[in-house]
Symmetry: C2
Subunit: 455 residues, 2 copies
Amino acid sequence: MSFAKKILLNESDMPENYYNIQADMPNPTLPPLHPGTKQPIGPEDLAPLFPMELIKQEVSKERYIEIPDEVREVYRMYRPTPLYRATNLEKMLDTPAKIYYKYEGVSPAGSHKPNTAIAQAFYNKAEGVKKLTTETGAGQWGSALSFACAQFGIDLEVYMVKISYEQKPYRKVMMNTWGAEVIASPSNKTNSGRQILEQDPNSPGSLGIAISEAVERAATSDDTKYSLGSVLNHVLMHQTVIGQEAIKQLEMTGDFPDIIIAPFGGGSNFAGIAFPFLRYNFQEGKNIRCIAVEPASCPKLTKGEFRYDFGDTVGLTPLIPMYTLGHTFVPAPIHAGGLRYHGAGAIISQLLKDKLIEAVALQQIECFEAGVKFAKAEGIIPAPEANHGIAQVIREALKAKEEGTEKTILFNLCGHGYFDMSAYQDYFAGNLVDHELTDDELYSDLRKLETPPAA
Amino acid sequence: MSFAKKILLNESDMPENYYNIQADMPNPTLPPLHPGTKQPIGPEDLAPLFPMELIKQEVSKERYIEIPDEVREVYRMYRPTPLYRATNLEKMLDTPAKIYYKYEGVSPAGSHKPNTAIAQAFYNKAEGVKKLTTETGAGQWGSALSFACAQFGIDLEVYMVKISYEQKPYRKVMMNTWGAEVIASPSNKTNSGRQILEQDPNSPGSLGIAISEAVERAATSDDTKYSLGSVLNHVLMHQTVIGQEAIKQLEMTGDFPDIIIAPFGGGSNFAGIAFPFLRYNFQEGKNIRCIAVEPASCPKLTKGEFRYDFGDTVGLTPLIPMYTLGHTFVPAPIHAGGLRYHGAGAIISQLLKDKLIEAVALQQIECFEAGVKFAKAEGIIPAPEANHGIAQVIREALKAKEEGTEKTILFNLCGHGYFDMSAYQDYFAGNLVDHELTDDELYSDLRKLETPPAA
């Protein structure tokens, strides 16, 4: 017991600022465009949906943005989160690599999502917003925002994809427990919902439809705004508390990462752990490899195209410069619901285009195998999303063994799998399938795109 | 932010010994009796079921029993656990009371149960045991032991009450993920199971039947032993790491508890938090009120009789001096599965008889109301068992407000409710009912008892 298994920080070591990577990127992101005029949008275009402070953060070039005391106060419920040395996994793999993981599953909602949910709830509350709307698929994001809204006394309407609403009743109950109203989408509460229901009364819903409903409700109510759980610059920035804490924690061990790994859906998990470390690459000549791991069923980073595209399926949002498979791309229903998103957000896409980060796509069976290994060794049963990161960690650790090199690997264990046991059940029953996408499946949505190229 | 929300300890502050309250009890417990001879049992009677070290611990009068390094090594995965100041709940209740809670839900299995599961797995492994058997109802205990057995490379057979096996498939998958074999009980693997199935092929099972199957398997196999998650002296003692840590953590705040509260099923939760503090009462003249909270549907402490009774329904175990409702008592299917046990274990029963601890019985709706309040205030959604403790905390905090006294209340939040959302669903749907037991419902099983009185 010569080393610490958990590396803990005091509350006083919790970051005081968000780190804004836009201050340090070698090439800035391209501007988002208005979906109608195709011209760069201004703050007034976003004002119906977001409070002004978040709109400012979205385009800020300030390196540090102070975390309000009220937000830090709620963070203290679970932050600083522990950094673990995965000693048992190292032994199981017989690798010379040192493996560390930051564990965000200790938050009340069980994932990293509250890091931005709390901030967004606070900034909305501060500007007099009475109610937020949002969408949720698998339920992670809706749960996090429900928890955060309860903390600040804001109402919340969650539009939950109807098929998830029916298949995942416990996620709904969790949101109810924190006081949120959960509505199966498509619903009769919005024009968008009613339109869909007229065409198909039995529509199972989709994330795209749920976004449309949530956005419509916010746009048409005075004291209601909309909240998103990933993709946007300010959302990714709020997650940088993860990496900033990890920097302090690794300093306590004397180790420094050679490789940083995180699963990739919309980018908030990856940004949270990787962005604060990328500064060492940009400013101190370090060469940390930062690897985003996406599911092979939705490979926008490894097989998508860098161009302007919509953030939602229906095409209501601004056009964002992104690696995308096309906003109408519908990935196979794999069990990592949080990774089934067609595009990547402006910052991540620019970094990938500039070859400052790496990406890899993995099949789901390898990921579940990795997750079960991890659970047996380290005790924590990871969320299916997190398993994607773990599978890549195992690949790198075995490579280090083969090469006889001692690497230090850091990954973000973004959440536990307590609400995803049905996915493990399918895995054990042999019901999961891997599927290599054909060119037609991959590119037919991209070919239909009429949005402007990203120059 | 002048005070800490979370009071954390370093790994080096983790207890080095279990605290054995048998060294300090004013009156010792009465001895367990052989079910056949009705004479006090000796170690040899227990040897087929338990390793010798645990049999020794069961009767030891040593004040401290050293925690082996190998056990502490696994504890480090989640221990020391945080102590929280429930500032938001205090505000919500507008009480002058200070409320602290120790949070055991951070363990991989999500409850305090691994504290003894890890120790039991280790001691069995150390004596060459290859496989353990156990029973589980709701699944908390089975999960904890599955996790622990994975850590020490021991096989595990869990006999899971068939109706739970069918209604709670995710608990089963959790145990499978850690490598345990889970068998619906009654099963064809044992004589006991086959007997039951012959009489009733559709038997939904019961904890009593599951115990019989697990005990039979252990008793009839050379390298297999049996493991229990509560009630027994050594099991309760392993939980005292909770209270020992809480003592150090409260020292850091300058506060000392006036009242300690924990839910009560078999006693492991209550013992864990209360026993180390009771030493201050026994040896330093302090007067901490320690309150065990049981469900009104299973009120052995408040309405049971102190006498010898069996630990299991079938009547295979030694006779234990206990507050009991009779070993054939079947409580209503309330949603706190972990509290539905007919008796209380020897130490707790002696302490209650000697009026050194208090007990109270609460109806479940009040408990769920309390749990939802707690979730909104403090973020964590508690297990239904834990809600019983929280309801009593709220009663005491409101009483302090009424009386204008500043009390310090400490309670053990033994686990989270992520696997119990169906219970919350029933609560929100108005499907929970409270029920005042009639004398006939309460005492008819007791009247049938032919076991010896406890003198």
